[in-house]
Subunit: 397 residues, 2 copies
């Protein structure tokens, strides 16, 4: 796990009792005492959680001091009580680090429809405020504190030099279930010590999210709580980034977001394969996204991959109902490097050896070309297993 915590940030993660397992952290603080530029990307679900509404009102800002996160309870569909609890949670976190209420941001993830246990949250915030640090241990606890059904914590980072200054980007995310596209997709916090003006930060985050967090799914169910926050302390550079530095930063931010985004379906509930879907030859990138998403969301495509079955008919037929116009006679498909369908006609291939190849791989490449246009998309999803059913028929989210 990376230990390049960007300058100006301190982290902590503690167990306060929202989750039953006493070994699992469930309350996280991310503190920037000097004040960070903060921008967000949020779920587009009409039914959104109280903390999402709060953060949406408070960003963009150039003076975020603390982010408080709890897992185990989403504070979603909780009515007026939920709004009060989210505000109170931010207020407690701000007070704990000597800040003001409007300088706090809030994230929650877990069960929908139950009110937050505010006594536990309050005790957890006090505890976490006393354990802030900028070392690997603090980061590990913070990353674990965001998890719900995740099997592994998700952290990604980059360190690079801009105009002579060393700059760091560090992100942490949670995923695993209720992961669908066209939104911020889950909880992720990306910290940097680069100096950014809020408008640039918002643009960079939107651009990065569009091609990373918005291009993944597990089962395609859009959550009520999805939030990606970018926090920029400015401690590593004197002036706001501009020109070539801003471009380089943008590319690095996209790579960090991609690492985090890819890690989510790779750790999707019950997943035995990561499916990487490349669609090209469309008129627009939006068309390619729509086709890739439709393939990714098909339970028949997912279960074919689960069974290591080179069942290209399910993939091609999913493309056909994506709502995008193309010529079926220009469609070609490769699976784990083998051409199976060319210009609308099946290619003779050795199904046994392609299936064997699928068995040896964790990442299954699906490459679909539907024409000669410039539009393309790369999308990641999980396969669908009996374990996913067990998790979601038994676990109350």
């Amino acid at each position: 796990m990376s230990t390049h915590i960007p300058l100006g940030f301190e982290l902590s993660g503690v167990h306060c009792g929202v989750k039953q397992d006493a070994d699992m952290e469930d309350l996280v603080l991310v503190v920037c005492r000097g004040g960070a530029v903060a921008v967000g990307a949020y779920t587009t679900n009409l039914i959104c959680a109280a903390p999402v509404e709060l953060d949406r009102r408070r960003t963009p800002t150039n003076d975020a001091r603390v982010l408080v996160i709890n897992s185990g309870n989403a504070n979603a569909c909780t009515g007026d009580q939920g709004d009060q609890d989210a505000r109170r949670m931010g207020q407690l976190a701000a007070t704990a680090i000597g800040g003001e209420e409007h300088q706090a941001l809030v994230m929650s993830t877990g069960v929908i429809g139950e009110s937050l246990p505010m006594e536990k949250i309050a005790a957890g915030i006090a505890d976490a405020a006393g354990q802030l640090g900028d070392n690997a241990d603090a980061l590990a606890k913070a990353a674990r504190g965001m998890m719900t059904t995740d099997k592994v914590p998700k952290v990604a980072s980059r360190e690079f030099v801009l105009s002579g200054n060393s700059v760091r980007i560090l992100g942490m995310a949670k995923g695993a279930g209720m992961i669908g596209p066209k939104m911020a997709t889950m909880l992720a916090v990306v910290m940097t010590d680069a100096c950014l003006v809020p408008d640039d930060a918002q643009t960079l985050l939107k651009n990065a999210v569009d091609v990373t967090f918005n291009c993944i799914s597990v089962e395609g169910h859009m959550s009520t709580n999805d939030t990606v926050l970018l926090l920029a302390s400015g401690n590593a550079t004197d002036q706001p980034l501009a020109g070539e530095d801003l471009s380089q930063f943008s590319a690095a931010l996209e790579r960090v977001c991609l690492d985090l985004a890819r890690a989510i379906p790779a750790d999707g509930e019950g997943a035995t394969h990561l499916i990487a879907i490349d669609v090209s030859g469309c008129e627009t990138d939006g068309d390619a996204f729509q086709i890739a998403k439709t393939i990714a969301d098909s339970p028949l495509v997912k279960t074919a991959v689960t069974g290591c079955d080179p069942n290209w008919g399910r993939i091609v037929s999913a493309a056909g109902y994506a709502g995008v116009l193309f010529d079926p006679r220009q469609v070609s498909l490769s699976l784990v490097g083998t051409l199976l369908y060319k210009n609308g006609t099946p290619v003779t291939f050795d199904a046994t050896s392609v299936s064997a190849e699928m068995r040896t791989r964790f990442e299954i490449d699906v490459v679909l070309r539907v024409g000669a246009g410039p539009g393309k998309c790369r999308f990641f999803t999980s396969d669908l297993t009996t374990e996913y059913i067990h998790i979601n028929a038994d676990y109350h989210t």
Copy 2:
């Protein structure tokens, strides 16, 4: 099983070897020697099978003499060879009953991407032509001959009197997997001895399909082969139906289609519950459909029902990402008759007893109100089980 075969029709079903199991019929003939009015509703998938393209060209017609159906092979994504095979299949069926090529319609269902075994098909057509009948045994064999992963054959009928004439409607359908909405959904043949002009027949079929076959799903994957055909022999009435008779017929046709449509998710692959989703209070029926479909297609909603978990948060949050605007504070939800969420706020309820109630029922009612508008929709889907995963990770469609 109903034996009210409409006047003018003969049926047969035989095993010709497309399916491996020698006990399963896989080739079906539906014959109307006097010529039937025939209209169709077809998949809207761009990647559609050769028989769909053939039927689309040949309907509406007022002189269909024979419909030939095979199961076990979809003749989809089979290139030019597939088009030739579909034409040849129709030609053989027409010849076998003394008709002409343009009087034949064709349906196929099963594995995608493999060419039809035309020698077996030809032998099967000859065999089936010698076994035509209008009795219960012929109907049973024909209904079984359409099945793929279906556990039970699906037949529905109505008999009623219009202006002194007894009129029959009889439908048979197959379903089980690759069932998604906004299309004809699967294979279904509806026969009647009422006399209809092609334009009326087309309108009646479209209206019936919109609120029946287009309001069901299993996993939401739209097939390449979905076709509903309405065949009207005219043997029971002298003149084409009009006025009140046509309205009564339309209502009866809708009921037959609804019986068949409902039977498909009830026999969905691996299904342990049928989920009936009623959405109301929308501005339009189309909005209500969109919300109902989004709820139906969510694997999280399906697995909650599998686990008999009254997890209303998954249902409400799915409504929120359906792409339809509504006020979250006007949303109310009942599950198996218990109010769980009222005007955007959770209702205290006994989860154990609601779960127990879900365990006793096969059909799970979900009733969602999102406002005060007139738009509504009733949608049926299956739950999602480990058995669905086993079927689709192992069965090559």
